[in-house]
Amino acid sequence: MKALFIIRVMLRDWMSVHRKYTLIIIITMMLSVQALFFVATKNASENIESIFLERFCNAAYTVKPPKMSTDSFEELEESERLYPQHQIKCDRAFLERYLASGLPMPSPALENPADYSATAYLQVTGINGKTWYEAKGAPFYNFGGEAVFEGKDSRFAEVINITKFSYKLCEGRDYTPEEISSHAPVLVVDKKEPFSLGDRIKVGDRELEIIGIVDGGDDFTASPIPFWLLEEGMSDFKGIREYEFAPDHFTDLAGYDCLLVLDRMVYASPISFSQVGTLAEVCGTERGQIKMPYTAMLDEEYGKFYKATITECAVFGLFCIANIILAVWSLCIKQIGTLRTFRVYGASNSAVTRLVVILIMCITLAAGVIGGALCIPMQKLYENINSNYAWRSYCMYIAVGALMIINLSAAIPTAILIVRKSPIGKEGN
């Protein structure tokens, strides 16, 4: 209570004598905190390389982004027509909106398959726990029309869903759309399979004629098999006990579903917050639903971010020190009388030092808190964008904390200086 009384006396005295200085100090502190916050967040935001839009499901999709061009519409619509059971939808309106928005094309030059490794899969469970799976984002994997399902039983061709065959045809011919839609008993197989053109083989209870031989690659065999055969023929195939596929994944693989294509978009270069807003509009969703994987940014860019923050703290710390010098200067020329009175009435040097430190801290802390508080609306905005972004909201706390520490470290020596320069012993006669 007594300490509070003294601080109150001193603060009030200081504020009354130095209204102008107080105002300047508070404003500069506020600006420095805000500037620090904004620069830090801007720095962080510029490191966003991908966004994640959670629209339909929580499945961890990573798909290779489509080639965004109107040329692909027809292909998609064809898939939609051919495979109604797979719920393929060509959202032409969405694609057109996207193209019109001016947003960059998603990952136009992604070379690393790891960046878009597919988690979509078709799982076929064999007897004795032997597992048939899966469609990964292998080099052949292409949502533009094909999907590859690898199998391990040599009696059965690897499964390829195909709407437009793009493998190199060695012999014979490709399926026609009519053959696919009418479930014609024909089959195209990989050249590494033990079949020849014209052979008749049985898949499940269906007898099929080999009409084409393809080169599916050097590493594994890959035969393009229509979905209808996968569904109708394989379920009865000897050696397969059951199979299942996730409709959403299957839909993706079947032709790529435009509704799901934005589950994750990876951009080759960072996009800005305003572009995130545009994207939200294009998707017809709330901005807050767009996830920005800040964690990834931290992993990759943490060093850069950290250094930038430290640099900014140092720059604005200098700002604070300037404030303190201003405060101390005004304190020296105007308030030294009060300090003298304090000493005259029994305040020791250490007590005066403490008082000066507390006084300066109170002023700068108040300014810092006000500055920080003014950052809150902006912080809320960022939080709305993504809960992960809450990490970045700590920029504000880092800013205020750093400024306070710098203030404290500057306030102590300046307080000692004031006491040493106390006029008590120098007034002379």
């Binding site: 009384f5 009175t341 006669n429």
Partner: protein
Amino acid sequence: MVKLTSISRTYNKGTPNAVEALKGVSLEVNEGESLAVMGVSGSGKSTLLYIIGCLDKADEGSFELDGEDVSRKLSDQLSRIRNEKIGFVLQDYGLIPEKTALENIMFPLAFSKGVSYKEMKRQAKKISEFVGIAELNRKRVSRLSGGQQQRVAIARAIVNSPKLILADEPTAALDHKTADRIMELLLSLVNEGRTLIIVTHDKRIADMCSRTVYISEGVITEGE
């Protein structure tokens, strides 16, 4: 109460700007005595007052206050002595203008050990009544007249019940009528057994004290 023996004080010692403020001053002031110290500007009277008030230290000589040798005390010990035994009345009052009279009177007690905030307030009210400014307790000091401000300063000086009161030109800024009232107040404290040392230019004020010494060029040249 105060015993100075051969006190010397030189500012900027060892430099070309050295100023000998006090040159072997010896002075004794008894308890319950009122002493006026007179002299022209630069004569060394304020230095004398600061040394007696434990705000400055003599370069040479010894100083006893209330029977205790204080010439070799450490800074914090001197702070304690100032707080407990000495009350200052400063020339410019040294008040905090934006605080109330009561708060100004209270604050020396804030540096006293073992005095609660409640006790501070109680004691300050008691003293303000004693000096006749109880009705001003809630008023800001900046709104008080010079005489009222000086009374607040006196109240603050005696709130710790000091044995020694040091007043540096306490009436310099006041008209005669007000100065006389202030002196009456100070002398009433002497009548209570306190010791008063006043630095003044005013012969009329000095005459009200029981004893007067003159100081010139750092030497007490004339006394009593």
